[in-house]
């Protein structure tokens, strides 16, 4: 997910990349479906990583659901985090009274049931086959490890936890400076959601990117890097 982005920061920062448990190259046997029932479990893991590596002054960069995981981690141990960069965050995907998440409950149920009928699983099973014919094996590796959870059951549970989460109430307590990077025309986390996140977080600013879609870290890495850099310079000047 980050291969186009992280090298730009490798000279100035210590870059720590990780896969959430159950995804990518994480130890799949560490995934306990009884434990990973909310995003809090993933936030605990982030704190665990910070503790084990003795990280302080952390700039947490998270995309999509991982952005909210970072928010929850910063809520828990604010002293560890100097800032949050949230790319396409959404605290709740399902519409609610006066809140536009972008999806109805029915939409999300359909997504989950289509996963239940293995609709997305077929594609995950297909990915290695497609990549087998590719002349760029390193992409195959990235594809199968980062996009397609190797285990469809884990992918299904993760989707359920993600799309039924509601962490709106957690936002106002997180004082860590945050940048919300919002894509234009993001069909998953629409701009109204990005504005909501930036509005609820006490110390956040919103930047709407020219890039469209939900994965600017892949589709527009240059713009993503530039917006991140600008922000980090701004907050470090502000702090000095």
């Amino acid at each position: 997910m980050w291969r186009h982005v992280w090298p730009a920061f490798a000279d100035d920062y210590r870059v720590v990349l990780f896969d959430h448990v159950g995804a990518g190259r994480s130890d799949l046997s560490a995934f306990d479906s009884r434990h990973y029932t909310t995003l809090d479990a993933y936030a605990d893991d982030v704190i665990g990583i910070c503790r084990d590596l003795n990280l302080h002054d952390v700039v947490f960069v998270g995309h999509s659901v991982s952005a909210m995981v970072g928010v929850l981690a910063a809520e828990r141990e604010p002293e560890r985090f100097s800032s949050l960069i949230l790319i396409g965050p959404s605290p709740r995907y399902i519409d609610d009274d006066g809140y536009v998440g972008g999806f109805s409950e029915q939409d999300i149920e359909e997504l989950l049931s289509s996963m239940d009928s293995n609709y997305l699983g077929w594609s995950t099973a297909m990915a290695p086959v497609i990549m087998g014919n590719d002349d760029r094996p390193e992409l195959g590796e990235e594809l199968t490890t980062s996009f397609c959870a190797t285990d469809p059951d884990i992918a299904r549970q993760f989707a359920r936890v993600t799309f039924t989460s509601d962490n709106r109430a957690d936002l106002e307590g997180v004082r860590t400076p945050a940048l919300v990077l919002q894509c234009s025309n993001d069909p998953i986390a629409p701009e109204s959601v990005g504005r909501f996140v930036a509005g609820q977080l006490p110390n956040a600013e919103l930047v709407v990117m020219a890039a469209a879609g939900h994965c600017p870290n892949l589709s527009a890495p240059e713009e993503t890097i530039e917006r991140m850099r600008e922000y980090l310079e701004r907050v470090s000047v502000g702090a000095a």
Partner: protein, 370 residues
Amino acid sequence: MTASDTQLDSDEDLFEDAPCGYVACRPDGTITRVNRTFSTWMGLDGAGLTGRHFSTLLSPAGRIYYETHYAPLLRMQGTVREVAMDIVRADGTRMPCLLNSTLVTDPVGQPRSVRTAIFDARDRRSYEQELLDSSRREQQIALELQRSLLSGELPGSDEFGIDLDYRPATNTLEVGGDWYDAFWTGPRSLALVVGDVVGRGIEAAASMGQLRSAIRALALTCMSPARLFETLDAFTERHRSGLMTTVAYMELHLDERRAIYAVAGHPPPLLWDPGRPTSFLNEGRSPPLGASYASGSGRPQATVELAVQASIALYTDGLVERRYEPITDGLDRLRTVIDAKRPDVVAAEVAHELRNEQPDDQCLMILSLR
């Protein structure tokens, strides 16, 4: 090729009336051109489609999949093939499709456009749905069968208690073959059974049911554990059902405070009491059921005297076994966990600590004398 052939199949016709939908987009997904086949499916004219983002034509589920998987995949590998999605037509109805896309790049590798062919997959999808439904029904039947075999109250009294933790495999759609049983065989004696049938699904559940009933019937004849296994050998061989099942069987005599047990290809029971370290009962071992045990030498059994407040654990390999490690590591881990929790060992806590996400049932039964 004649002139009329060329006229009939002009480039324009080949594109517009191809037997598949054809859509061209900018790299960001904005539609630049669609063919007639596609606009007819959609119930819109081409002008109503150009300028829209391709993902807005999909169902919400498809839209999420498109943004999180399809578009990144396409960007990384240049093509995506045979992805199933629903497009939503102008009248709101859905049409199941299969999508293939190609990313067109300029000479320096910058994306220029995305070409997508869309195939009508309505019949195919309903067939796939039927297949899924039928496999789900089968799975449901096996689950119900398993549940009915494993329900029922476990015996208990002032003198002993039985604590059980049973976790069916979570990472698989199929029913596994672990089972347990505990029942009175006489006024002062009871039998404990934990076993594991080879295979999965309905067949495994049915074998499990047969063996469970056979053991219950044989146990009531006061047959010794060794003799009971020999009879089960004949039973499994004769009926070709439950072959290679592993099982631990234990007879408990409350008055004598004695257990007689036999273990067929199964991990060893674990014993602990206030005056003794936690240890495995490694005697009375022989191969799994039906493993051509007609050597004539007979199955072994062993006897162990039980102290006041002794506890015995029977379990299945799903509790201890992990991929890529010898089973002895798993057995050591079980003993360590139980050691740490003595004297009041709760099966659910042990099972939770040893939790295993591998696709296997896990079963732990602990009998404690009071």
